[in-house]
């Protein structure tokens, strides 16, 4: 699926589709295919070199973008999923478990899970977790602390679920407690924002020692649409709000809210899974390695200082 600002690419893609359908292509067809592919890649590269914040939002929300289960499949040699918060249920909007990277590093993986189709999305509620999801995440983090395993938290959510049941079971309390407990968790925490970093629903599993972010992910206090409808009194002004909110990786790096930007292939992570898995895998391996051997006391006090420095008035 191409996005609306990718029309040039879509035209080339259509031609490519036609050419590829040719049975027994001759050498001129083959060279035309190669030519079109080159054109398309150049177009994508040019387009993606200069995405607006609102276009970035669309890439971050792309339905084919790799979701947590894709990352698990692409990054790990083993995944033992753990279920349930031991209090109410097993939310599918946040999943997690023991995992081993291809370089044998073991860790606790957790994060939001979005679906790729309607049935998936019904199950995981479009990546909008309920309190039991946040509480399951904390249970796994406490287990990681006990086993001296680092935690890697993947963030990709439109926000915490705004439902009556979620309120009833204490959505606010679940998110607040997670942040408090993550702040002092005695094991390294790596956070990686892979798609949408939607407000409280994101930060509820987003406190860490190192915050990584994919190049075309976004991270915001409110959705551009929500901000536009409140401050512009017009939800269609989302692109303007997206500009004003400074939600893209380069802006967030400048604001020192994230530490490192993980580059994506031209045209976004969804166009090249093997490439993004390799980059993310390498970034995680390096980050985890850098965090080993730091005493937990030092780790926790550095984590405190990191967040204390954010938005410190001068």
């Amino acid at each position: 699926m191409n996005l609306d600002f990718e029309t040039d690419v879509t035209e080339i893609d259509a031609q490519l589709l036609e050419l590829r359908a040719v049975a027994d292509p001759d050498s001129s067809t083959k060279s035309r295919i190669a030519e079109f592919e080159k054109q398309r890649d150049a177009k994508l590269k040019a387009l993606y070199a200069d995405l607006t914040p609102w276009q970035t939002v669309q890439v971050a929300r792309h339905p084919e973008r790799p979701m947590l289960r894709d990352f698990i499949a692409g990054l790990t040699t083993e995944f033992i999923e753990l279920h349930g918060d031991r209090l109410f249920g097993d939310d599918q909007g946040i999943i997690g478990g023991f995992a081993t990277l291809k370089n044998q590093q073991r860790f606790m993986i957790l994060g939001h899970q979005k679906g790729k189709n309607f049935d998936d999305n019904l199950r995981c509620n479009f990546g909008m977790a309920r309190p039991e999801g946040y509480r399951k995440a904390m249970r796994l983090m406490k287990l990681a602390e006990k086993y001296a395993l680092p935690v890697v938290s993947f963030i990709d959510t439109p926000g915490a679920f705004p439902g009556a049941d979620a309120e009833e079971r204490g959505q606010a309390e679940a998110i607040a407690r997670n942040m408090m407990d993550m702040a002092v968790l005695k094991t390294p925490i790596v956070v990686i924002i892979t798609g949408e970093g939607g407000s409280g629903g994101a930060i509820g599993i987003g406190v860490g020692d190192v915050i990584l972010m994919l190049q075309y992910a976004v991270y915001s206090v409110i959705s551009p649409e929500g901000c536009a409808s409140i401050l512009w009194r017009d939800g269609s002004k989302a692109a303007e709000a997206a500009n004003a909110l400074k939600i893209t990786a380069p802006s967030l790096k400048q604001l020192k809210v994230i530490d490192e930007i993980i580059p994506e292939p031209p045209g976004g992570a969804h166009r090249d899974y093997p490439a993004i898995m390799l980059t993310v895998g390498n970034a995680l391996a390096k980050t985890l390695k850098n965090l080993t051997g730091i005493s937990t006391g030092k780790l926790v006090s550095r984590r405190y200082d990191k967040f204390a420095a954010m938005g410190r008035a001068r």
């Binding site: 439902g163 606010a172 607040a176 409280g200 909110l245 967030l252 001068r314």
Partner: protein, 278 residues
Amino acid sequence: MGWFSRKKKQEQPPAVAKEDVWVVCPGCKAHVYREEWEKNLKTCDRCSFHERLTSAERVAMLLDPKSYTELNPRLTFSDPLKFVDAKGSYADKAAETSAKTGLKEAVITGIGRLSGRKIVLAVMDFRFMGGSLASGTGEKIRLAAEAALHYRYPFVMVAASGGARMHEGIVSLMQMPKTCAAIARLRDARLPYISVMTDPTTGGVSASFAMVGDVHIAEPRALIGFAGRRVIEETIKQKLPEDFQTAEYLLAHGFVDMIVPRPKLRDTLHQILAYRRT
């Protein structure tokens, strides 16, 4: 003015100074003597309506006279995004609000005595951009918690906020983990942290420092919740019950310890803090 209305007025206390003598309760429309209204700390003893207080009024009702010293009184908002919306710049809007209210931020913090006991107190003020949480707010709360840690005083928070301040974007969001991390330090040091939730305590404030107290006290009928009622109704395509996200609803679902009418708040805090043996 007609004859009837003139006659009606004569049956009531002096018309000239009406607002000075009477308050119409916004809850039940009853006329209450202002003196009585003030004595009840701006609450109605007929319908238990609680009027929103300014932070100064709250400090005056909770702390012993002349015992309050403000912490970081000059700490004010910053504009990390250089935010401009349809109505203009955030810097102008915040400066205007500041001039109008005399407040530097949506919270004031300080040290004082509550019934003789030294505490650190933070009080949010809804008049400053809806009591919203942003960099200045979060930093003042963190520094107040640090002061509590330094002096080993209990920390009492009186929340009143519509949530995170959009105008400071992601930096506002980061005040949620920042404040929670500071509260975690109080927990590690076994220092009391009491959260008082007043109307309203919602969004990013309900989902951070306000909801991680040792004891949660709510004022009667205060609105407390994470997501907005309208957003939830649009999501679930259902009307929500009248009492949804009220203090009473949170008590019934186990998220506050008690609902305390304002005239009893100071004594209740005093009673609870007396149990501390650390």
